[in-house]
Amino acid sequence: MADFKPLHPLGNLDELVEKHSFFGPGSAAITIGVRKSVECAQLFAGNGNQAKIAKKLNFDSSTGKATETKGFTALPIAPGQWILISKNSAPGFADGVAKSINGLGYLSQQSDSRICLRVSGPKARELMSRGCRLDLHESHSGAGFCAQTVMAQIGVILHQLDDNPTYELYLYAGFARSFFHWLSHSAAQFGCDIEIISNQIKR
C-alpha cells in the first residue's frame, strides 16, 4: 500500500509560505493565513426541527450570524442549514454531531470540500473590498457576520471572526489555487505575508 499523505488543495504549504512571505510576523499590512485543515459538516434540520436542533446543539439560530458553541462554530447558510466548523478537529466530528441530534436532522461530511483562508491585518477590510460586494463597514458587519457571496468569480462563505477585523473565507477545494492567486496578488500592494494555521489537527 502506498504511503498515505493528505494533500492540501494549495499543495505544499511550506513552499507557499517560503514563496510569498517577506515581512515577518505581524509586520505586514495583510496576513493571509492558510488553515491546514478544516473539520466541518453541513447540518440540515429536518422539516420543523430548526429550533429543536439549535436547542439540542446549544446555539442561537435566530441571529443570522455565526454562533459559537463549545465544540463548533455554526455558520448559517440557509433557513435550517448551517456549516458547522469543529473547534477541536477530532476525527468523526460529523458522526458525533449526527449522533447527538438523534434524527432531528442530517449531516453531510464536508471537511474535504473546502479550504479556509484567514485574512487579517490593518488593511484586511480594504483587501476584502477588492473582491467582496458586501458591505463590510464596521457599522454594518461586525464579529460573527456571515454570508455566502462571490469573490473573484468564486463562491465563498465569509465569516468575520472579530472586530479587528479578521475574516475567514471558505471556498471549494478545486478553486483554491485560482482564488489564492487572486487574493495574494490583490494583497501585494499592501504588503502581505502568508502563514500556516495549524491549530487544528486533521483526523
Binding site: K5, L7, S178
Partner: protein, 993 residues
C-alpha cells in the same frame, strides 16, 4: 521659447520648485509638477496639439478638463502606449512622452488636411451617400477605404505590463464632484455622521471656483477649498477620492467610478494597479458635477488659440499659464468677465470683451469702469490665422460695424450647459430653462439630487447653499439622524444678468459645433433639409455628440440649431439620452484581474498532478481542467486516444472522474423527491444499489442524466454530468423550495468533498482488490453490478460504485479530496502488474460511443427521452417534472429524429460529427436532411469509423439503409450504413469481466 507663456507668479496647482521634463512629438519641453500636458504645452507656446478627425484641421485645446474634444493625444510609449487620451487631464510627470495623432507625416504638415478641399463633399451623411453604389464595391473597395480613415490613435501592440483592479464600496451619501457645491454637500453630510464618499475627477478639488478672486467664508476660495479638504479628510466617516471619475449611474443606485491610481506616475509603484474600477452602492447621491461651457458657432472657430473663456481662466489661475499675450473675449453671459478680471490681474492684455448682449450688464459695466473695452451687441464672425488665431473679425448682430481685432488667444463663452450626463443615465429627461439657456434635470427617478451648476445654479453663493442643503437632505434620506441645522458656507452674492442666445454667428464658412467629430452648423441644417427632424436621427446622421466626449461642449448648440431649422422652440426638440461611460474608460479597467489565464477561475481536481506526472494533456471542461489524453513520446493525438481506448478493453485503465457533479440527498421524502425529478422510479431502489436516471426540464426535453445511489433508507447520492452540475442543483433547489416545500428532503453539493476515479477493463477487479486489500471485499457477491459499498481506507471513508460507462467491468471509487492523490497512487501501484494505463476524456468518449451511450453531444437540450432511445424509462405510474409537456404532439411525433448508429462504409476516408444525413448526395440541402451525426470515432473495437446520429424515423425506418453523411465544410459526402447504436458487446456481457 521655453515657458514663454508661463507667468512669473500664480498657478495654485503647480510647484515651481519641481521642474518636469517631458517630450511631445519628439521635442523636449519643461513644465512643472502639477501641470497637465495641455497646460505645460501652452506654457511653452505650443498651441497646436492635434488634428481634427474628418478634415484634419489643426486644433489646439478648447477646454481645461475631461470634456476636451481637440487635444487628443497618445501617451507613453511601447507596451504602455495609450491612444486617445485628453491632454487637458493628463498630469505631467518627469519623462512623459506624448505624441499627437491622426496626422501624417507631422502635426504641422498633415497630408490628409487635403480633406478640407474636399469638404464640400464631406458633409453630413457623406458615407451613406458616397459608398452606396455599386454594391459589389462594398466589401472589396469601400470597406477598405472606410477602415483606413476610421479610428484614431494606435493601441499598444505588446501586452499591457500594468495591472488593473476592481473594488467595491458602500456609502450613505455619495457626492459626485468636489467643486464648491460638492464640497459643501460633503461637509454638511459628513457632519451628520453619515458615511460619505466624495469623488472628484481632477487631482485637486475646487472645480470652477476662482482661487483668488472668489471669497468663501471670508477666505480666499483657494484657502477655503484647502481647509474644506482637510476638514473632510479629518472626518472618519468621510472618504475623499481624487482622480476618480464617476462614469456610470445604474439601477438601484449602483454607480461605477474609475480611479486613476498611477496615471500621473511614470509607472505604478509598489504593486499598485494603474487604474482601479469602483462599484459604489450608495443609499443617496448628490450630483455636483458642474457645467460645461459652450462654444459659439462662427467661422473658423476651431483655430488653435480659440478656447473657452472658462478654460483660459483655469489655465491662468491653476497653472500660471497665459494662453495668449493678447486676448479677445467673446461672450453672451457674465461669467466671461471673471476671466477678464483674472487675466487683468495676471497682467495679460485683454484687448476687448465682445458681448453679444445689447445692454450692459452690471458685470460689463464694472469691466468698462476698470478700463476694459467692452463692445456690447457684438459677436465674433470669423477667426483669422494660419495654424493659429492671429485676429478675429467681429460685428454687430445685425451685420454692421465689422472690425478686426488682433489677438493670439480668443476666449469664447457661449454660455454654460449644466452637466446632466449622469442624471440622464438614470432615465431623467432634462428640461429646458430659457433663463439660463440650458437643460437641467427633471424630478429624480433614483435616490439622487443635483446641486450647484449641474442644476443650473451658477452663482457661487447659490452653489454653496444648494450643496449644503443637498448634503443634509441626502444624509437624512439615507436614514441618518441629521440633528440641528448647520450653517452653509457663504459667499458674497453676485447678480448674474441673463445670457442671450447666440448659436450661429453670421458667416458662411466652417463654423464647428461638434469639434471632435467635425460637425458644422451647416451639417445640421443640411440634415434637416434632407428630412432628418428627430434629434436622435440628426445625431446619428451627422454624428453630432457621438464622439468620446459625448458632445459635452456641443450638444446644446446642436439642438438649438436644429430647433432653429425646424422653426420650433428648443424644448420641442429635446435631448438625446446620455449613456455610460461618462468619459472613456480603458478596457483594461473593465477587465480588472480577469485577463489572460485569469479570465475565469480554473478548477483543479485532487488528482491534477497525478495526471500531470503521467504527461496528460488537459482540456477545459467548463472551469475544470480534465486530462484529455496521455500521449506517449512520439505518439500523435489520435494514436494516443485510440491506444488508450484499446488498452482499457484489453487490460484496464484509470480515469479521473472527479468533475462529475455529486449531490447528497437526505430525508424521509428523498425517494419521493427523486421520483418527481427523474422520469424513472426510485422508491424501490434498495440501499446499497445504484440506478441510472434521466431528468427532464419542465418543457419535457432532457435536462441531464447520471447514476444515483441509495446509501441508506433516507440517504441518496446523486451524480450529474460535469457540465450540468450547478444547473441540476439549482433545479432541485427550485423544486424543493418552491414546488414542494412540504417534502422533508435536504441536499447539498458534495462535488468537491469527494474525488473519484473510474477503473475499467477486464483487470479492474484484480487491481482494486490489490489496491484496497482487506479493506474491501471485491467479490461479485459483495459488489454486484450496480452495487455500492462504503469502506474505510487509511482512516478515510471511501465509496465504491460498480457502474460502467465503457461497457467493461468497471468501478468508480470515491474518497475525500485530500486522499485523492494517495488513492490514485495506490491504484496505480496495484495496476503495475495488470497493464493499467491512464485514459482521458477522449478515450472515455470512444468507449461510450462504441457502447451507444449518450453524452453531451446527444443531450443538447433539443432531445426527448424517446429520441435517445430511452422512452421506455418514462414511468406512467407517477408524476415527474416534464411529464406533461413531454407528451405534446410535436414531442411524440414518430417522424422525430431518434438515436441510431452510423457505420462508415469501406472506401471512405473518415466520418465527421456535424455531418447531415441525406438519402441522395446530389440533392443535399436543409429540406432533404434526414438528421445529423452527433459523435464519431475510428473505433478500435469495431475496426472502422462509427458514430451516433439522430435520424428522422430512426431505426424503425432506416435500419440497414445506406445514407450519405454530407459535410459541406469539408466537401465530403461519405456513404454510411444505419445500424444499432450498440456497436460493441450489444448483449452487455463484458461488464461481468
Amino acid at each position: 521659447m521655453t515657458n514663454s507663456h508661463r507667468m512669473s507668479t500664480g498657478g495654485v496647482r503647480i510647484d515651481r520648485n519641481k521642474t518636469v521634463m517631458f517630450r511631445f512629438d519628439g521635442k523636449t519641453y519643461q513644465g512643472f509638477h502639477g501641470d497637465t500636458l495641455a497646460s505645460a504645452l501652452l506654457a511653452n507656446g505650443v498651441k497646436l496639439m492635434g488634428r481634427s478627425f474628418k478634415y484634419h484641421r489643426p486644433r489646439g485645446c478648447l477646454t481645461a478638463g475631461s470634456e476636451e474634444p481637440n487635444a487628443i493625444v497618445e501617451l507613453r510609449t511601447g507596451a504602455r502606449r495609450e491612444p486617445n487620451t485628453r491632454a487637458t487631464i493628463a498630469e505631467l510627470y518627469d519623462g512623459l512622452e506624448a505624441h499627437s495623432q491622426n496626422r501624417y507625416p507631422s502635426l504641422k504638415f498633415d497630408i490628409q488636411s487635403v480633406n478640407q478641399l474636399l469638404s464640400p463633399f464631406l458633409t453630413a451623411g457623406f458615407y451613406y451617400k458616397t459608398f452606396m453604389w455599386p454594391a459589389s464595391f462594398w466589401e472589396p473597395v469601400y470597406e477598405k477605404i472606410i477602415r483606413k480613415s476610421a479610428g484614431l490613435g494606435r493601441a499598444a501592440v505588446e501586452s499591457d505590463p500594468d495591472s488593473y483592479e476592481h473594488s467595491h464600496t458602500h456609502c450613505d451619501v455619495l457626492v459626485v464632484g468636489a467643486g464648491p457645491a460638492g464640497l459643501a454637500a460633503a461637509l454638511s453630510a459628513g457632519r451628520t455622521g453619515a458615511r460619505v464618499l466624495l469623488v472628484e475627477e481632477q487631482a485637486e478639488p475646487g472645480g470652477m471656483v476662482s482661487p483668488l478672486l472668489d471669497v468663501i467664508d471670508d477666505l480666499p476660495a483657494a484657502d477655503w477649498v484647502e481647509q474644506s479638504l482637510a476638514n473632510l479628510e479629518a472626518m472618519e466617516n468621510v472618504t475623499v477620492r481624487l482622480r476618480t471619475t464617476l462614469f456610470g449611474y445604474y439601477d438601484h443606485n449602483v454607480l461605477a467610478a474609475l480611479e486613476r491610481v498611477s496615471d500621473h506616475l511614470s509607472e505604478p509603484e509598489d504593486d499598485q494597479p494603474r487604474q482601479r474600477m469602483w462599484t459604489i452602492r450608495a443609499k443617496q447621491v448628490v450630483l455636483a458635477c458642474g457645467s460645461h461651457e459652450r462654444m459659439m458657432a462662427f467661422d473658423n472657430n476651431d483655430k488653435p488659440g480659440v478656447m473657452l473663456a472658462g478654460a483660459v481662466r483655469l489655465f491662468v489661475e491653476r497653472y500660471g499659464v497665459a494662453p495668449g499675450k493678447r486676448v479677445v473675449i467673446c461672450t453672451n453671459n457674465d461669467d466671461a468677465y471673471k476671466t477678464a478680471a483674472s487675466l487683468k490681474q495676471a497682467g495679460v492684455e485683454v484687448t476687448a470683451i465682445v458681448d453679444a448682449r445689447g445692454e450692459l450688464s452690471p458685470a460689463a459695466a464694472r469691466a468698462r469702469e476698470q478700463g476694459l473695452r467692452v463692445d456690447s451687441g457684438f459677436v465674433p464672425c470669423k477667426a483669422i490665422g494660419h495654424q493659429q488665431v492671429s485676429s478675429v473679425s467681429i460685428q454687430r448682430r445685425d451685420g454692421s460695424g465689422r472690425e478686426v481685432l488682433a489677438c493670439d488667444c480668443l476666449a469664447i463663452s457661449g454660455g454654460y450647459s449644466p452637466d446632466v450626463h449622469l442624471v440622464s443615465q438614470t432615465g431623467v429627461a432634462p428640461i429646458w430653462r430659457d433663463d439660463i439657456l440650458g437643460f437641467v434635470p427633471d424630478m429624480p427617478i433614483r435616490q439622487e439630487r443635483s446641486s450647484g451648476a449641474c442644476m443650473g445654479t451658477f452663482d457661487l453663493a447659490g452653489c454653496l447653499t444648494e450643496g449644503h442643503a443637498a448634503g443634509r437632505d441626502a444624509a437624512k434620506k439615507a436614514g441618518v439622524k441629521v440633528g440641528r441645522a448647520t450653517k452653509a458656507p457663504s459667499a458674497p452674492t453676485e447678480e448674474l444678468a441673463a445670457p442671450v442666445a447666440v448659436w450661429r454667428c453670421p458667416g458662411n464658412g466652417k463654423a464647428f459645433v461638434d469639434f471632435q467629430n467635425d460637425v458644422t452648423a451647416k451639417d445640421i441644417q443640411l440634415a434637416h433639409q434632407e428630412g432628418f427632424v428627430s434629434v436622435e436621427h440628426v445625431k446619428r446622421y451627422t454624428t453630432l455628440g457621438m464622439a468620446t466626449d459625448q458632445g459635452k461642449t456641443s450638444n446644446v448648440t446642436g439642438i438649438a440649431l436644429l430647433a432653429e431649422a425646424r422653426g420650433e422652440p428648443i424644448p420641442d426638440v429635446g435631448t438625446t439620452r446620455f449613456r455610460p461611460p461618462y468619459s472613456p474608460v480603458a478596457i483594461g479597467a473593465f477587465a480588472g484581474h480577469e485577463r489572460g489565464k485569469e479570465f475565469q477561475p480554473v478548477r483543479r481536481t485532487a488528482m491534477h498532478e497525478c495526471g500531470e506526472k503521467l504527461g496528460a494533456v488537459f482540456v477545459e471542461a467548463g472551469q475544470w481542467l480534465r486530462p484529455q489524453y496521455y500521449p506517449k513520446s512520439g505518439e500523435g493525438v489520435m494514436e494516443s486516444i485510440y491506444r488508450e481506448a484499446r488498452q482499457v478493453r484489453e487490460t484496464a485503465g484509470i480515469c479521473d472522474v472527479s468533475t462529475l457533479g455529486k449531490i447528497e440527498i437526505f430525508g424521509p421524502d428523498s425517494g419521493e423527491f427523486l421520483n418527481r425529478l427523474y422520469i424513472n422510479g426510485w422508491k424501490m431502489l434498495a440501499p446499497g444499489k445504484a440506478r441510472y436516471g434521466l431528468m427532464l426540464r419542465e418543457d419535457g426535453y432532457v435536462m441531464d442524466d447520471g447514476t444515483t445511489s441509495r446509501l441508506a433508507d433516507d440517504h441518496y447520492f446523486m451524480t450529474t454530468t460535469t457540465a450540468n452540475a450547478a444547473r441540476v442543483l439549482a433545479h432541485m433547489d427550485h423544486a424543493a423550495q418552491v414546488l414542494w416545500p412540504d417534502l422533508d428532503v435536504h441536499f447539498c453539493s458534495a462535488t468537491e468533498q469527494w474525488c473519484g476515479v473510474a477503473v475499467a477493463g477486464p483487470n479492474a477487479r484484480k487491481i482494486l482488490a490489490a489496491a484496497f486489500g482487506s479493506a474491501l471485499d471485491m467479490s461479485d457477491e459483495n459488489l454486484p453490478f450496480m452495487g455500492v459499498r462504503s469502506f474505510d481506507w487509511n482512516g478515510a471513508r471511501a465509496r465504491i460504485f460498480r457502474i460502467s460507462f465503457s461497457g467493461e467491468l468497471a468501478f468508480e471509487v470515491n474518497v475525500p479530496w485530500t486522499y485523492g492523490e494517495a488513492m490514485w497512487d495506490a491504484i496505480w501501484e496495484a495496476g503495475r502488474d495488470h497493464g493499467l494505463i491512464p485514459y482521458g476524456t477522449e478515450a472515455l468518449s470512444v468507449l461510450r460511443i462504441e457502447k451507444g451511450h449518450v453524452a453531451g453531444n446527444e443531450l443538447d437540450g433539443r432531445t426527448t427521452a424517446a429520441d435517445m432511445g430511452l422512452g421506455k424509462m418514462m414511468s406512467s405510474k407517477k408524476p415527474f417534472i416534464g411529464q406533461k409537456l413531454a407528451g405534446r404532439e410535436g414531442m411524440i411525433d414518430d417522424q422525430r429524429a431518434t438515436l441510431v448508429g452510423v457505420k462508415l462504409k469501406s472506401g471512405a476516408q473518415r466520418l465527421r460529427g456535424g455531418a447531415h444525413l441525406v438519402a441522395d448526395q446530389n440533392n443535399a440541402n436543409a429540406e432533404t436532411s434526414l438528421g445529423w451525426v452527433t459523435s464519431v470515432c475510428d473505433s478500435p473495437a469495431v475496426g472502422c469509423w462509427i458514430g451516433l446520429a439522430y435520424v428522422r424515423g430512426g431505426l424503425a425506418e432506416h435500419m440497414g439503409n445506406t445514407l450519405f453523411a454530407e459535410n459541406p465544410i469539408y466537401a465530403e459526402s461519405p456513404e454510411v450504413e444505419i445500424c444499432s447504436p450498440h456497436f460493441f458487446d450489444p448483449k452487455g456481457e463484458r461488464i461481468n469481466g
